[in-house]
């Protein structure tokens, strides 16, 4: 059984989504993403939502949804469907070793991580 097939669409992940409280939309929840993944739908929504809002704290079947989203992003890149900012970020990582691109020395005074 593929990990995503373990999702039983119970909706308990709704309580983990802080974005749901703002948007009210099921697309931002793990269940929303799981339905799209099961349907094989590739959409920019997989790049727009921050991964840190997608948690599995209350998932009864322990679906690793962040890993599934990562795979979905990978597929979108393969199909040339990634977003422009994402493509630029990857190019910058390859060319400059950071996601922001070429930086003048004065531009970044301090880096916190």
């Amino acid at each position: 059984m593929a990990d995503i097939d373990k999702c039983i669409l119970c909706g308990l992940c709704r309580q983990d989504s802080s974005l749901l409280k703002i948007t009210g939309k099921e697309t931002v929840t793990s269940r929303g993403k799981a339905i799209l993944i099961k349907k094989g739908i590739l959409d920019k929504i997989f790049f727009i939502d921050p991964m840190n809002d997608i948690t599995v704290a209350h998932c009864p079947t322990n679906v690793e949804i962040t890993e599934e989203i990562r795979k979905q992003r990978e597929k979108m890149v393969e199909h040339g469907m990634e977003t422009k900012p994402n493509r630029r970020m990857i190019e910058n990582l390859r060319d400059f070793g950071n996601p922001y691109g070429e930086q003048k020395k004065q531009e970044i005074k301090e880096v916190f991580s």
Partner: protein, 382 residues
Amino acid sequence: MNLTWFEKLVGKENVSDEIIDKEIYSTDGSQIKGRTDKVTWVTETKQVHQIVLYARRIKKSVVPRGAGTSLVGSVIPFDSIIVDFTKMNKIESIAKDHVIVQPGVILKDLNKALKNKFFPIIPENSSVHTIGGMCGINSSSIYEKRFGKMKNWVQEVEMIDGNGRLKKYGPEVIGTEGILGLITKIKLKITDKIHEKSMDLLKFNKIEELVEKVASLKNNKEAIAIEYINPTASELMDLEKKHYLIIEYIDLEGEIKDNKEIERIWNIKKTAFAKIASQEFTIMEDPYIPIYNMAEFLYWLEEKGIPCFGPIGISVLHPCFKDRESIQELNETVKKLNGNLGAKFGIGLLKKEALNETTKQELIRLKQEFDPSKILNTGKVI
């Protein structure tokens, strides 16, 4: 249908006919697949009213939706407009003995806001369930033995019926699963918070002894919750393979008096379905079994190796299955034991056979009166 009309009514960001939204809102906790025409996220009663009037004019199906957790397909659309109430989530007022809320309010948020007061209809997952959804199915509570069901705690609702009439009703419309009208405001009774409680956690080897204990607690008003876990389920939950009873009291009758320990035990119970579902028993049922046939039912579960838990104090159990084919055998057994199917999760699409003929005829009559065009939550219940 005219998307612009909806955009003007609810705002561009609150309506969608995009494929991703249509796919996501075409299903619910039942995993049945329907078909969505468009999704609207309403924020005000007048928007709901206008949508119903519009849908009636063009004879389009409208499906009200809360958290979409139904296990019986209560919010599956048939080329319908979904009216999502998630954003209608305001607690409008809190008085000494009642509260007025919008249907999208989440129960957990309500109880948090009530502070020293308490709304006692608490389904197992109060963190996602909305008050509107709970009204729809006449939700039960882990404390049902003491506090009854949703219907007992609703004083009044504001509802828009299929004729487009916005009126106030009493609790008689609770449990009609959105087939008569869309509820836009709810007045709920509230009570004092429970401060003193205790618990017993009992293990049994023999089914007869367990059933005898449950029967002896029937008239004990202080025992507000009696939950059961069977040996198959307990094994899947990494507990010692036994029959368990968890009994919560609203006095100090129980041996466990430490609140943290009580909470810990409740959490074990709350994760029952999680643990069972993770081992592929992902379909949960909700039959009612009369206490005089309970022992026979528990023996049947054991013989078949079916994991089961649930509020045995109100004679409802949750046997879990790997596939829908096995449920037919459950239905036959429940009928043979004079039980009912669909005691907790509502009727929706999947449990129509659980509806008795008298109730069905009454609902057909009410549907004709409240929604003669049959636009509201089409295909459900009757």
